[in-house]
Symmetry: C2
């Protein structure tokens, strides 16, 4: 089973990397970009075949390693 995890900074947390991208897009002539947020996407190949158990496993991976839950939120999608 495959899982995709999106990890983004929580709303309200300053995103300097996204801000840099927004500024760079502006200098390249892309004027209509009003906001940019950058995050991570992690694709996992899992041996587990049970959807419920795989989802719970990936959530535990996020809590313990993949995301910094103080400032980041994560979203698990099973494919």
């Amino acid at each position: 089973m495959k899982a995709r995890v999106h990890i983004m900074l929580k709303t309200g947390v300053l995103d300097p990397q996204g801000e840099a991208v927004r500024h760079a897009l502006g200098t390249l002539g892309f004027e209509g970009v009003t906001g940019v947020r950058q995050g991570k996407v992690i694709e996992l190949d899992l041996a587990e075949t049970d959807r419920a158990k795989a989802g719970a496993d990936v959530a535990r991976m996020c809590e313990t390693l993949l995301a910094n839950t103080v400032i980041e939120q994560y979203d698990v999608e099973l494919l």
Copy 2:
């Protein structure tokens, strides 16, 4: 309009960051993870309201700035 761009290394390109995550998950006891690929996700707020034009604009942003198309592939999703 909002757009989400996924940028991943192309298949066949070595992903040392993903490999490091896979190894770290193994040492934490998550044995069933057979592969990990890590990429970027960029969320854009666009002033453009026409879907076709917004999609074309974001594709141009990927080609010129957001993705390194030699080793990365991108995928645009309009929300």
